[in-house]
Each structure stands twice: as structure tokens, then as C-alpha cells.
């Protein structure tokens, strides 16, 4: 019964990575497809395997790629923190409201997720550009006289990423906080704990798995994000997902793009495994 999905994922999810790995070691070629075969029959009985480390060497010598990797990690990390700061009180508020309010609020969190990401990111262009909604309102209020430059800056990119990934953080965090025994907080306060202390000593540690799961769901995809930096970040927003895209589509350098993908994967796999173990702990705790 599980054989069908198993084989499907093996063929279309695992095997492709092997091919990416293979192509990351091959030479760029002006042909279709634009790479040289790794394994070749030369003459009658000899097989030549050419493993080429140039693509990786290239990535480590050109500061652009290292910069893009580091910048992606920085952007993803800061975005995850911002999502936590905005999302934690929201998840907490939803978990502590009455059952009927809770359903409505959850629906409101989920709803944007069901409408196209591309369209929602596009909406921010209209809000942030020089003669956009935010500038027009601020000028009309007299707060500023010259429009602020917001679009095509790192600020716009952060807004876009936090905005798009916020629901992914709120939902697992809510699922975790919902199971919390709130009497623990009352007990702590009865015993003289101040509300902030009780939060710090009880709620925060107990929601650790929810925080971790939500943060991973933001951090991991955000590192490789393409759409948001491409639309809001401007030409200087150097993110690794965008570098991969440009290598592939603009430069037709498939082996270099593959090498970027492999390095990105090596970077992210520990986080993915961490996420999976957190998930396993969460569902074990639920039972």
C-alpha cells in the first residue's frame, strides 16, 4: 500500500538529487543539455570518469557566492526572529481566546496562505513604491514631505519575507500552546510570580518545540527564497536562491547551478533533520 508513494518519492525526489550531484561535477558545455557527460566510453573497452571540482572551486574563489550564502543565512535568521516577535503574541492570543473566537482567528491566519504568494508579494510593490499607498498616506498626513525609498531595499525584502512566512510560524506555535495547561500559570501567580516571570519561566520553556518547529518552517525555505528578493529586493539583494536561478536561466551554467544547490542542501540538511526530530517529539508528546 505504501509502495506506490514510496516509489514515487524515490524516483521524483531522491533520484533527482543524485543527478544534481552528478552534474555538479561535470563540465560546462555549449550544447543541449549544457554539460559534458561524467562517464564516457572511450575506445572499445575503457571507461573514463571525469570528476571535475572546478564548479565548487569557482564558488569558493568568487566572493560573490560566499557573500550570497552568508547574506541568505543572515536574512533568513533575522526574518525568523521578526516572525517570532510578531507571531508569538498572536499565537498566544489565539490559544487563550474562547473556542468560537479561536476558530475565526485561525481562519484569518490561514486565509492569506491560500491566496497566491506571488499576488501578495506583488501587493507590497503597490504599498511600498515611491508613489505607493504608504508614501501617499504619510505625505497626506504631513509626516513626511518627500517620498521614502522603500521598494527595492533590504527593508522591503524583510517585510515581504516576514509577511509571507508569518502563518507558517503561527500555526505550529498555536498547536503547541493550545495543549498548554494554563492552571500552571495561575499557580505560579498565586505563589507570587509576576506575570512576565511566569511567562519566562513556564510558558516559554513549555512552548520550546512549537517555537523550534515554527522557526524551522520559516528559516529553511527563507534561505533559498527566490520570488521575494527578486520582486522586492532590487538588483543588490544578493540571495543564494536568486544566484542559482540566474546561473541556470540567464547564464545557462547548469553545473554551477547544481553545485550551488548541493552546497545549499548541505547547509540545510542539519536543520531539516532537527525539524524532523522536533516534529517527532511533538507528536509523541501529543499521544
Amino acid at each position: 500500500m505504501v509502495a506506490l508513494p514510496y516509489l514515487w518519492l524515490l524516483l521524483f525526489f531522491v533520484v533527482p538529487f543524485v543527478i544534481v550531484l552528478k552534474i555538479s561535477f561535470s563540465d560546462v558545455d555549449l550544447a543541449i543539455p549544457p554539460y559534458k557527460p561524467l562517464i564516457e566510453w572511450i575506445g572499445k573497452n575503457s571507461l573514463a570518469i571525469k570528476v571535475n571540482f572546478n564548479n565548487y572551486a569557482f564558488l569558493f574563489t568568487d566572493p560573490l557566492y560566499i557573500h550570497a550564502f552568508l547574506n541568505s543565512i543572515k536574512v533568513a535568521f533575522i526574518s525568523t526572529l521578526l516572525c517570532l516577535i510578531i507571531g508569538y503574541p498572536m499565537a498566544y492570543g489565539i490559544a487563550r481566546s474562547t473556542a468560537s473566537t479561536r476558530n475565526v482567528l485561525l481562519l484569518l491566519v490561514v486565509l492569506p496562505f491560500w491566496t497566491s504568494l506571488l499576488l501578495r508579494v506583488y501587493a507590497w510593490i503597490g504599498l511600498l513604491k515611491a508613489n505607493g499607498v504608504i508614501n501617499n498616506v504619510l505625505i497626506w498626513l504631513g509626516v513626511i514631505h518627500e517620498p521614502l525609498t522603500m521598494l527595492y531595499t533590504p527593508f522591503a525584502m524583510y517585510v515581504g519575507i516576514v509577511y509571507s512566512y508569518l502563518p507558517f510560524l503561527i500555526l505550529p506555535l498555536y498547536a503547541n500552546l493550545e495543549k498548554m495547561d494554563w492552571q500552571l500559570l495561575e499557580a505560579a501567580e498565586d505563589l507570587g510570580c509576576r506575570p512576565w516571570q511566569a511567562f519566562y519561566k513556564i510558558t516559554l520553556p513549555l512552548s520550546r518545540n512549537g517555537i523550534l518547529a515554527g522557526s524551522m518552517l520559516v528559516f529553511i525555505p527563507a534561505v533559498g527564497e527566490f520570488v521575494i528578493p527578486a520582486l522586492l529586493g532590487g538588483p543588490n539583494a544578493l540571495m543564494i536562491g536568486r544566484v542559482l536561478w540566474d546561473e541556470f536561466f540567464s547564464n545557462r551554467a547548469w553545473p554551477v547551478a547544481s553545485a550551488v544547490a548541493i552546497l545549499l542542501l548541505i547547509l540545510l540538511v542539519p536543520f531539516m533533520m532537527w525539524y524532523q526530530s522536533v516534529q517527532a517529539r511533538e507528536s509523541a508528546g501529543a499521544r
Binding site: 508513494p5 533527482p16 489565539i94 491560500w114 506575570p195 533559498g224 536561466f249 547544481s258 544547490a261
Partner: protein
């Protein structure tokens, strides 16, 4: 509960939801704006439906929407079959060879950056074409396969979590009464997890309908989906027609979500009453 804390939480909720809904609201409002300058409200001629007419006469967008619809429906149906089998297997059978691998393979696509999934699937299709001649070129088929691969992971999670909450005693009772495993699955299990399957289908449909990155890698000439067309338009600047498209999408999604959740809460109440 203490008042200061309540106010703090309420303020956070209000700001958070304003943040989530401000962009959506602005698209809806400006879809009725007469000015071509999209974000400058032309009070003299607005509100108007002229961009709605323009969108309905835009062949490029309509063709792309039709392709998107075909891909999304095929994808959702396939992903639901694969995802339900995987979710059922993972939830019911706690010990089988390859369980760990299957679990990892259904979790990883949820967080995998799309550029990696897209690139790897494209390279697979190219390698397959070179060695066995299938698929001949890239287009709707390759795109649908790619979409099914990541959507089925989402369906698996939804089905698996529904399976975790229902009482397996029901299945055991049916088996004790002599029902064969296949009959138990179709008569007992399937109806109970049907809400999860329905949400899984809708989720898979939406993921496919919205996907840009993986589609860019795996589509070919003549198979431009709606996101691909929208992305190329948006890169050239804002366009009033995109606001209309967004408003229609939001309208349909809202009706669908509200409808399904209403139906589900009624079904849950009936289940409790019975």
C-alpha cells in the same frame, strides 16, 4: 487574567492581522481604481469595473488560467491518492521497512527551498529524456509530475494527523465482524478521514495553482501557467489587471474556505451528536 497583559495581547493581535490584511485590502480597493497609475486613486472616475472587463478580454491570462486549472486539478487528484496512501501507511503501520525513509521523504519537501526541488526535477527529466526518450521535452506532463511530488507531502501530513486522532478500535471492530481489510478501508476509514482528504485536495490544488518557481524549471514552451504570466508582467511593473486577478482569487478562496470550514464544523457537530 490581568488587564495589562490582555491589552498587550489584543494590541499585538490587532497589529498582526492589520499587517496580514493591509496588502490584500489594498489590492481589492485598487482593483476598482480607474487610473492606470494603480496606486493613485482617481476619484473622478472610480470605482469602475473597466479593469475587470480588460482582464476578461486578456487572451494571454485566460489561456494561462486554463492551463493552470488543468494542471492543478490533475495534480490535486494524483497527490490525494499518493498522499492518502502514504499518510495512512505512516499512521497505521508503525513498523515496516523503509518507514523512516518514507517519513523523511514526506517531511523534506515541506521545507525544501523551491529552487532546489525545481532544479533537481528538471535535471531528472532531462536525464530521463536522454536515456529512455521519455518525457519528450518539457510541458504540462512534467510540470504536473513535479507539482504532485511536493503536494503529496502536504496531503500526507494532513491525512496522517487526522488518522492520529481517530479511534482504531472502529477498524478493529469491523475486522472482528469479518470485514476484509480492503472493505474496512473503504467503508470505515475512508469516510472518517474524508474531511482530511478534501482539505488535502484543496491544499494540493492551491499549491499547484500558485506555484511559480518549480513551474519555471519544469514547464516548456506553450505551457505557461498563470503565475508564470503574472510574474513576467509584475517584473515589468505594476498593472491594474493584476489587482483584479488578485481580487477574484481572494473572493473565490474566501468563499471556499468559509464554506468548507462551515461544512466541517457542522459535520463535527453531527458526529458528536450521534
Amino acid at each position: 487574567m490581568n488587564y495589562r497583559r490582555t491589552y498587550f495581547i489584543l494590541t499585538c493581535l490587532a497589529f498582526g492581522f492589520a499587517f496580514l490584511y493591509l496588502p490584500i485590502l489594498s489590492m481589492v480597493v485598487f482593483s476598482f481604481n480607474a487610473s492606470k497609475l494603480v496606486t493613485v486613486w482617481d476619484a473622478a472616475h472610480s470605482p469602475t469595473l473597466k479593469w475587470y472587463y480588460a482582464l476578461l478580454n486578456n487572451e494571454e491570462i485566460l489561456d494561462a488560467a486554463w492551463i493552470s486549472l488543468k494542471v492543478a486539478v490533475t495534480n490535486a487528484s494524483g497527490a490525494v491518492i499518493l498522499g492518502t496512501l502514504a499518510g495512512f501507511g505512516l499512521a497505521r503501520f508503525t513498523q515496516f521497512r523503509g518507514r523512516f525513509t518514507l517519513n523523511a521523504m514526506t517531511t523534506a519537501p515541506l521545507v525544501m527551498p523551491e529552487v532546489i526541488t525545481g532544479l533537481s526535477l528538471l535535471l531528472l527529466f532531462v536525464a530521463l529524456e536522454q536515456s529512455i526518450g521519455w518525457p519528450a521535452g518539457r510541458g504540462i506532463t512534467t510540470m504536473t509530475i513535479a507539482h504532485m511530488t511536493f503536494s503529496m507531502a502536504y496531503v500526507t501530513v494532513v491525512v496522517q494527523s487526522r488518522m492520529a486522532t481517530f479511534d482504531s478500535a472502529l477498524e478493529e471492530a469491523a475486522m472482528d465482524l469479518g470485514a476484509r481489510p480492503l472493505k474496512v478501508f473503504f467503508v470505515i476509514t475512508l469516510p472518517i478521514i474524508f474531511p482530511a482528504i478534501l482539505s488535502g485536495w484543496l491544499l494540493a490544488f492551491t499549491l499547484s495553482w500558485d506555484d511559480l518557481v518549480i513551474s519555471s524549471f519544469t514547464s516548456g514552451p506553450g505551457s505557461s501557467t498563470l503565475p508564470l504570466v503574472v510574474f513576467s508582467k509584475v517584473r515589468l511593473g505594476v498593472s491594474p489587471e493584476i489587482n483584479v486577478l488578485a481580487t477574484i482569487t481572494i473572493g473565490v478562496v474566501t468563499l471556499m474556505i468559509v464554506g468548507v470550514s462551515f461544512w466541517m464544523s457542522r459535520a463535527a457537530k453531527l458526529e458528536k451528536a450521534a
